[in-house]
Symmetry: C2
Subunit: 403 residues, 2 copies
C-alpha cells in the first residue's frame, strides 16, 4: 500500500486500525470520506463501541477549482504535517494533534474535531465565540513570534525558511489574491450585477499601486512562518475551544498576512449580515460583536507579541533600541490592514468566494453585501500605509455599512 | 584524493594536469599557494612554456580572523561556484570563467586573472578605472534583476532562494556589520585615538533605530540573489576590464546591499585620500573622480535596471502600475545609502578594516581619515530613508571632507 495512490475507504480503515494503541484491538471501524474532493481526501474513521475517532487527510496530486484541474505537489502534505506539529509545540491545544504522517502516501492522521464546527458556518448561524479572540491572538502571536528573527535563532530560521519553500501554493495566492481581481482575468468570477464595481477595480491605479506593494511583501518579506490561509473556514470552534486547521499554504512571509486573513473574514461576515440577521437591531448587535472581535484580535495580538518580545527577544539591537518595537508593531498593523483588504476584494470578484456572501438568496441583498464588502476592502487597501490604530478599521467598516 | 582534505601544492598540480584540454599534455606545471589562509587555499598554477595558467580555490573548514578560528561550512564552495556560473550567464565577461567544481574537495577551478589587480590596491595607487562604473552597473543590474521576482519566474525564484540559503556566511555580516559596531562588543577593533567616536556610536539611539531597520531588511528581504560582499577587494580590474570575484556570501537579500557595498568602498577610499594623495589639488581631483564614479554607478544601474524591467518584466501588476517603478527604484537608492553607511562604519570600528584607511602611516592623518569616514557613514545611515537622489550622497561626502 506504500506507493502513492488515492486511498479507498477500506484502505483508510486498514491504516487506522494499524495505528498502535489508538483503537481497541479488533474494533469494527467505520469510514466516511468527508472532503470536498478539491485538494484532498478526508476520511473520518470511527469506532462506535469505544467512541474513538480520528481524521485522515490525504493530499491529491491536483486541485479541482471550478472544473479546472491544476497539478499540485504532494509535498504540501509534508508542509502541512510539519507545520501542524510545530504549531502544536508553539501553541498547544489550538491545533489538532497529529498522530502520524506518512510521506509516501502524503497522509496525515490527526485528531477528530467533529464536536467543533467550521467558524464560518457558526458565524453565519449567528453564534458568538467568546474564546476566539483570545485563542486566535495567542495562536498568531506565538506561532509568528517564535518563527521570526525576533524569537528564534536566526541561523536555524534560515534552515526553516528552506524547509518551507512552497512555490505552488504561494502561486495560488499570488495569482488569485494579488493579481486577478485587479485586471480582466478569466479566473475572475462575480455576479453580473456588480460588473461596474469589478471594472472600477481594474482601472484604479491608486489601488493597483498599494496592491503591488502588498504583493511585493508577500513575494519577498520572509518575516515568520505563516499559516498562509487563516480564514474562518480554517478554524474549527466551539464556544469554549478554537482549533486552527489546514496549514498547507505555510511559508515564510509577512506576519500581517495571517492577521489580515482573520480580520478580512470577520469583516466579510460583517458585510454578509445584510442578510443573515434580518432584524436591524440584532444585525447591529452582531456587527458590533464582529468589530469588537476585530479589535480584540489585534489588541490581544499586539499585547502578547510585545510580551513575548520583552521576555524572549533574541535580536539585541531590535530589542534594545527605543522606538523600534512600536514602529515594528505599527507596520504589522498596516500590513494586516492592507492584506485584509486584498482578502476581502478577492472573495467578491475573484475565483474563490465565501458562503457568508454567496449564499445570500435574495439577489438585491446579496448585491448590497457585495458592494459593502468591496467598499470596505478597497478602503482598507487604500489606507493601509496610513493606519495608526485598529479603531480606524472599525470606523471604516461602520461608516461603509451606514451608507 | 576525493575525500575532503586541504590540498598540497603537489595535489593541486595533479588535479590541474588532469583537466581535459587545458594544459598541453606533459606540461611541467608550477604551483604557488597565494591565499591569505583565512578562509580558503588559493593555488596559482602555471605552465611557463604554453603561458597557460589557472586558479584553484579550495574552501577551508574554518575562518581565521584575528587569531580566532570559527568553524565554517564547506557548502560555501558550492554556493560560490554556483553563483559564479550564474553570474557568468547573466553578466558574461564580468566574472572569472569556472572550469570545474569538485563538491567533495570544496574546490573551484577557474580563470586566472593575474593580469588584473585588486581594485582597492589600484585606487590606493591613484589609478582611475574608466570602465568600472559601466561594468559594475551592468553586473549588479543584470545579476539582481534576473534573479528577482521582477525578472525571473517567481516559482523558480523560490527554489533558488532554497539553493542559496547561507546561514553561516550571513551570520558574519549580521554580527560584524549590523550589531557589533553599535555596542561595546569584544569583536570591535579600532584605534584608541577614536575611542570617543566609537562610544558615540554605542549611544546614538537614532542611529541604532536606522541600523535595526537595515538589519531587519538584511534578515528578511529576499529581493534578489546578492553577491553579498561586493567591496573593492572583491573586484579585479584593469583600466579596460572588470571581474567580480568571491561570491561566497551569496544569498537572497535586499538589492541595495550590493549597490551600497560598491558606494561604501569608493567612499572609504575617498576618506583615505587624506593621505594617499598628498597634494591638495590632486586630492580634490581624485576625490572628484571617486564621487563621479559613485554617481555613475547609481545612475547607470538605475537606467539599466529600468531598461531590463521595461523589456523583461514578468510581474504584471508591478510592470503596469504607474508610479510603482519610480517608487521601487527610490527605495533601492535609499537602501543602498543606508547599507553603504553601515559598511563604512564597520570598517572603522568593527573587526575587519580596509587598507585604504589602516595603511595610512601617520597616526594623525589616519585619525582624520577615520573620523571623516565615520561622519560620512553615520550621515548616510541617518539620512537613508529621506534620500531622493544620489547627489545628496555626494554632497554629504564633500561637505564632510571640507570641514
Amino acid at each position: 500500500m506504500s506507493a502513492y495512490h488515492p486511498l479507498t475507504e477500506q484502505e483508510a480503515i486498514q491504516i487506522a486500525g494499524s495505528l498502535e494503541g489508538f483503537f481497541p484491538a479488533g474494533a469494527a471501524l467505520q469510514c466516511r470520506e468527508i472532503g470536498d474532493g478539491n485538494l484532498n481526501l478526508v476520511f473520518h474513521i470511527t469506532d462506535s463501541i469505544s467512541g474513538k475517532s480520528l481524521i485522515m487527510k490525504q493530499a491529491l496530486p491536483y486541485a479541482k477549482v471550478v472544473g479546472e484541474s491544476w497539478p499540485l505537489t504532494l509535498d504540501r502534505a509534508r508542509i502541512e504535517s510539519e507545520k501542524l506539529l510545530l504549531e502544536g509545540k508553539l501553541a498547544p491545544g489550538l491545533v489538532p494533534v497529529v498522530y502520524k504522517y506518512d510521506a509516501e502516501l502524503a497522509l496525515t492522521v490527526m485528531e477528530d474535531l467533529s464536536d467543533h464546527i467550521i467558524m464560518r458556518q457558526g458565524l453565519i448561524a449567528g453564534t458568538r465565540y467568546p474564546k476566539f479572540a483570545d485563542d486566535i491572538s495567542t495562536f498568531i502571536a506565538r506561532t509568528l513570534f517564535f518563527t521570526s528573527d525576533l524569537g528564534m535563532n536566526q541561523q536555524d530560521k534560515k534552515m526553516q525558511v528552506k524547509a518551507f519553500i512552497n512555490p505552488e501554493l504561494c502561486k495560488i495566492t499570488e495569482d488569485l489574491i494579488f493579481d486577478d481581481p485587479y485586471t480582466n482575468s478569466p479566473n475572475n468570477s462575480f455576479d453580473p450585477a456588480i460588473q461596474d464595481a469589478a471594472e472600477a477595480l481594474w482601472q484604479d491605479n491608486g489601488l493597483h499601486f498599494e496592491v503591488a506593494l502588498l504583493r511585493e511583501k508577500f513575494l519577498t518579506n520572509a518575516q515568520a512562518l505563516l499559516h498562509g490561509d487563516l480564514h474562518t473556514g480554517s478554524v474549527f470552534v466551539t464556544p469554549a475551544s478554537t482549533k486552527v486547521i489546514d496549514p498547507e499554504f505555510a511559508y515564510y512571509g509577512p506576519i500581517g498576512f495571517d492577521i489580515g486573513a482573520v480580520i478580512a473574514n470577520l469583516l466579510l461576515n460583517f458585510a454578509g449580515q445584510e442578510h443573515w440577521t434580518a432584524d436591524a437591531d440584532q444585525r447591529g448587535d452582531f456587527r458590533r460583536y464582529l468589530t469588537d472581535t476585530v479589535r480584540d484580535v489585534w489588541n490581544l495580538f499586539d499585547k502578547k507579541f510585545r510580551a513575548l518580545w520583552d521576555e524572549h527577544g533574541l535580536d539585541r539591537i531590535a530589542s534594545e533600541t527605543p522606538g523600534y518595537k512600536d514602529y515594528y508593531m505599527n507596520r504589522l498593523l498596516q500590513d494586516a490592514v492592507g492584506f485584509a483588504g486584498c482578502k476581502i476584494v478577492r472573495r467578491i470578484v475573484g475565483l474563490s468566494h465565501v458562503i457568508d456572501i454567496d449564499r445570500i438568496p435574495d439577489a438585491a441583498v446579496r448585491e448590497k453585501a457585495q458592494r459593502l464588502a468591496l467598499t470596505i476592502g478597497t478602503s482598507l487597501i487604500l489606507n493601509n500605509r496610513k493606519t495608526q490604530s485598529i479603531e480606524e478599521v472599525i470606523e471604516l467598516a461602520n461608516s461603509a455599512a451606514s451608507k
